[in-house]
Symmetry: C2
Subunit: 261 residues, 2 copies
């Protein structure tokens, strides 16, 4: 563990479940900071801006700065600017994403004037929004999605993720995004490693989903730890890790640290 | 043409565009009836009941009975009853479909008590409805879709069809419907031939979409005629018929009859 200089932590299922903190997760983050390890959080959430997430962490008693957060919303805004410049964007996304896009210098427009379609989850999704997304997908030069998650664990059962919209558009138009930013894409993980200033072998990626977090960590050559405080449970983790094995499996973030620090 | 005893006519793009009549289409239907040809209408529309369609035809000055109409809504209700019995159904569909399902003896329930998921288009589609459909798709024993259309021609541009929901659910769950009722499925075409009491070679199928109407007609061995009064236009019909060739192509239903009767 002494070789380990930094941690890339998932948020939902590791530190909290929506607005509800996971005590062992919050405790774990505090320990990491006390032990002087570098930490960044990487979240596929496509509806929260970094500001919103800082507030949420504060409500858990965690003092986390915006620089420690790599959220799919902000990472998407950055990716577009870096690769295509400042664009006119139509997005299916919510306020949190719009905030990040505008702050990066992009302009939010209606579907028929957009140079770029940005697909992201929206709890106010309706037929009208899907119609606009369809038309934009048929005409916009660029098409980027914040994250690929098809299903997301809601408080009372599965709910559709950003992937639902990607799938619906693909079914209707045959077009897939030019880039998908969130995990397990390397794009967001490279951003995290840059931010840490560490080599991949010095970093452990911690998350609750094998296909999202563990795959992402392995793709960039980090060590990986699966925690069972989120989507993957004690009952099903053996099936989940059959295809892709994490280096470690722990009940939660605190357990991981108790064993290794 | 003397060998031709009956016609299976598509509705949208042949007789009308939404609530607006196509004069040559309405005229054509009148001529067919005057000449004593048998006629049934087969529509993939998943939001209108037969009653609603009878009313619409009446507003065009056409006296058409419910027996002459085979609409995806009613055909779906019939198919489920014939193959699975009367079921508890959760549907994404609208009033027109619910009307037909209930009239057939099925019971409309919430997603968590449904034996069967019926997917159909809904202009009030929202995130909540997609969440329920997702959960129902993961648990219901049976899954039927009214029609496969991915995109539908709206008055001001393309709009999502029932296929959008099929695609979104497939993307999220990997599950496809056990049966899709509308054209180009044989299910609805066999129903039409039964209703006419004719052999396939005595029937011409008329429609405006190659992949929907012409494919459907060919599958059951009917003669096929493409009309250019709907989705397929003079400018693009040569591309459209490259893979699947109709027996005839006409500007509209009246032209077809002028040439052959």
């Amino acid at each position: 563990m002494e070789d380990i200089k930094a941690f890339i932590l998932d948020v939902d299922g590791v530190v909290c479940r929506g607005s509800k903190p996971i005590p062992e997760g919050v405790e774990g983050v505090k320990k990491l900071m006390e032990f002087g390890k570098k930490v960044v959080f990487v979240s596929n959430n496509s509806t929260r801006s970094r500001k919103m997430l800082v507030e949420r962490f504060r409500s858990f008693g965690l003092d986390v700065s915006e620089e420690m957060l790599i959220v799919a919303t902000h990472a998407t805004a950055t990716y577009i600017k870096r690769n295509y410049g400042e664009l006119n964007i139509f997005t299916t996304g919510e306020k949190g994403l719009i905030e990040e896009l505008e702050e990066m210098g992009h302009k939010i427009t209606d579907y028929d004037r957009a140079e770029c379609l940005v697909v992201a989850s929206n709890r106010k999704l309706n037929y009208d929004l899907m119609t606009k997304a369809l038309r934009c997908c048929m005409t916009a030069k660029k098409y980027v999605a914040t994250n690929p998650d098809r299903i997301f664990p809601g408080w009372d059962g599965p709910i559709p993720g950003t992937g639902m919209i990607i799938g619906a558009l693909y079914w209707m138009t045959g077009r897939m995004p030019d880039a998908v930013i969130g995990k397990p894409s390397e794009i967001i993980m490279r951003e995290a490693l840059d931010r840490l200033g560490c080599r991949a072998e010095e970093v452990v990626v911690v998350g609750d989903q094998v296909e999202v977090d563990i795959v992402a960590g392995k793709r960039v050559g980090c060590k990986t730890a699966l925690v069972l405080s989120g989507v993957t449970k004690k009952e099903n983790f053996k099936t989940a890790i059959k295809q892709v094995s994490p280096d470690f499996v722990f009940d939660n973030l605190s357990c991981l640290l108790d064993s290794y620090i």
